[in-house]
Amino acid sequence: MLTERHVGRPRSRVDGPLKVTGRAKYAADYATNGLLHAVVVTAPIAKGRIARMDTARAEAVPGVLRVFTHENRPRTAWFDRSWQDQVGPPGSPFRPLYDDRVHFALQPAALVVAEEFEVARHAAGLVGMECEAETPETDLKRAMTEAYVPPKRRSGIAPPPKPRGDEAKAFAAAPVRLREQYGIATEFHNAMEPHATTVIWKDGELIIHDKTQGAQNSQDWVCSIFGLAKSKVRVVSPFVGGAFGSGLRPGPQLFLAVMAALSLERSVKLVLHRDHHFGLMHRPETFVTVGLGATPEGKLCSVQVEAVAATSRFEDHQEVVVNWPGLLYDVENAAFDYRLAQLDTHTPSDMRAPGAPLGMFAAESALDELAAKIGICPMELRLLNHADEDRNDGKNFTSKELRAAYQVAADRFGWRHRSPEPRSMREGQELIGWGMATGVWEAQTVKMSASILLRADGTAEVRCGTADIGTGTYTILSQIAAEELGLPLPAVNTLLNDSAYPAAQVEGGSWTAASAGTAVQLCARSLKEKLLKAARGITNSPLASATMEEVRFTGGRIVLARDPSHAVTLAACFRELGEEKIEVEETATPGLLSKMRYSSYAHAAVFAEVRVDEELGQVRVTRVVNAVAAGRILNPKTARSQILGGVVFGIGQALHEEGIPDHALGRWMNHNMAEYHLPVNADVPAVEVIFVEERDALTSPIGVKGLGEIGIVGTAAAIANAIHHATGKRLRGLPMTLDKVLPR
């Protein structure tokens, strides 16, 4: 038998059976005897102070144990530092029930804890609050006049690139000029699993099931705020029902549930109500202005990108918004500016590809406008300005198969049949439009550790502190371990997102596959060294002088490649070692040297078809082809799902998703899933995903660039460009709802 090949092959999710039978346990699925239920009460105003709190009636309901408010909450850490986490931005993090101040709409103001969920919910309705309201500001258009360059940069977020050439002069001299502003509405993550924490309290020790993208991040935060030893707090969150960035920072539900459990010395479960999520996490509304100067042939002379993004009054949330076009396109003169404006909301959270779909919606729409102005094919315009090196940073790319991606996607889409004129394709009452755009996302790696425990019976356990939020991490880590060790896939059990496992950064940024995958590969290789050494040491070993290069691990044996009759079973190696099992832990660290010399990005070419009802303005996306160049694809099956998920997110961003504020009250008018529209099954067409062959030995040892974000970037722009092609109408604000599509 040849080596079992798993990596690069389509494999069904190893956690599939648990997920289709309801046996996968999410944060709110844990229970214990005497579990208490907690319900949050939110403040009725968006800004001001709570003058009086009336909890007496709620506390009089039988079965209610306590109503926590800022007046009676237990003492916790005070310094900002104690509340900071692995990924938060600079500033002063929100502290639930900290004092009488109300900073944003739907701010948690009290926590009711009762023996039964329904009792807690009922009592929550009896908590009274008298507030002194101040005038909130939630209008970014107004707040923009006081936009500022964030004085302290957020760690891990690339600042705007340095200007190059003389953008103003080049723009002024350019024969073709375009300068437009684009806007993207506030969006909400709305992972299907609500944010929830179940705290199992036992004699002062806590086992916490938290909806989190990083169990260790949650553990550190709890220990730092409550002054607990790490040995007393374990966070175990094997399944996360989607997060899309909303589980990167530890949330108020974690603080509140732990606070209640410690005070009452009981186990407590807190599931945030869907509506409350709208107050606590969002993608910031952002305005992006793009100026392009070009020759009549379409060669870019200048690019200018300026953005103003919303943040809260207490933290400077930052994203990479303006950098992308200067990176993607070869242009001599470029200038970038990124500013923040403060609103009376909670701090924004990272949401799927934070920053990129905003800047890229603007840039890729502007390029489409330029193409139309000049009268050339939008794809040709991009090829004409294609950057073969990163001009932002003056580095070479580790790889960039974007040209190939354009080509294959265009072919599959049938792009050459496009008639260039807007409104030139129709079927009955429907106008048909074809648009395209580019996607890009940085391929990052972070420090991550993992371990493998291998048993004499040929089964293995992989452990890593990072999470699988639906991304397929369980599956790809099992594939890597099984392939390296020559085991069948079911022999490997991968265990994730437990604070007791080897240290890992939060899952996010598309860095998990490359980083955790490399750590697992290192573990497997070090196990193989140990095993081969043992095999060589066996008396009269058939592998007595074999080197690692000369052998293969396959079917539970080590065999000599040139003569497979020379083999030693793993069981024999274990006997020689006198062990039943061996375990190794290894750490993957980002290759700093290659990071200094090279730039690494995943790219995508997105083509979309829309049909627009001419009378109703209704837009349907009827076809999407997305060709992705993202290095090595570990599992085409789960990889396709990741891109598909990104495209569906992009369809939502393009057509549906919009937080609608009432600026007089400073509140979201549509804080639920009925009025905040998400794409449903009928909104999503057949989506074709193509992975372009791309070899990349520099980004990560396993050749992987990451796929979690790239699928969304470019999708909204491709749809906007298709709508323009269909209708002749250029829409510069997302989402493109039918009121904007209809002729005025």
Binding site: V20, T21, Y26, A31, P62, A191, G241, S641, L644, V680
Partner: protein, 169 residues
Amino acid sequence: MPDATPPAEPALALPPPLTLALTVNGARHAVEIRPWTTLLDLLRDRLHLTGTKKGCDQGQCGACTVILDGKRVNACLVLAATRPGSEVRTVEGLEGPDGALHPLQAAFIEHDAFQCGYCTPGQLCSGVALIGEGHAGSAEEIREWMSGNICRCGAYPHIVEAIREVAGR
């Protein structure tokens, strides 16, 4: 359930419990509940059948879909006390008596019809009932009739493929 002398103000008194008999996945249960308990909370908190998920608790997402007397419903919108004697089938009851996966469960794995898996129990119950309703004739029809089950991971095209495959058998 805690017992206390009912306080004077009506809002502070708990509604008196009642006994509800129902069948869940073939097993009979008689449970003492209060009239304000939803079928969803009964399943999850009382019967510890946590396969059925809560996504919004107000009928907007479909995560809580179960099959109630042969029809798919949002369990968060059903007050359990209104359905005495009913038969409920949840994701835990889809497998055959021999423990073999329901064909739709197997098709979901095969077609990778989920990522995080949180909407999956609801999608599966909805899909099984949909096939029974005869609304799985085409991809178009499936898309329309499965639109009450939101999947934020965006697995829709794979969900449609899985249902088509099983409905076509």
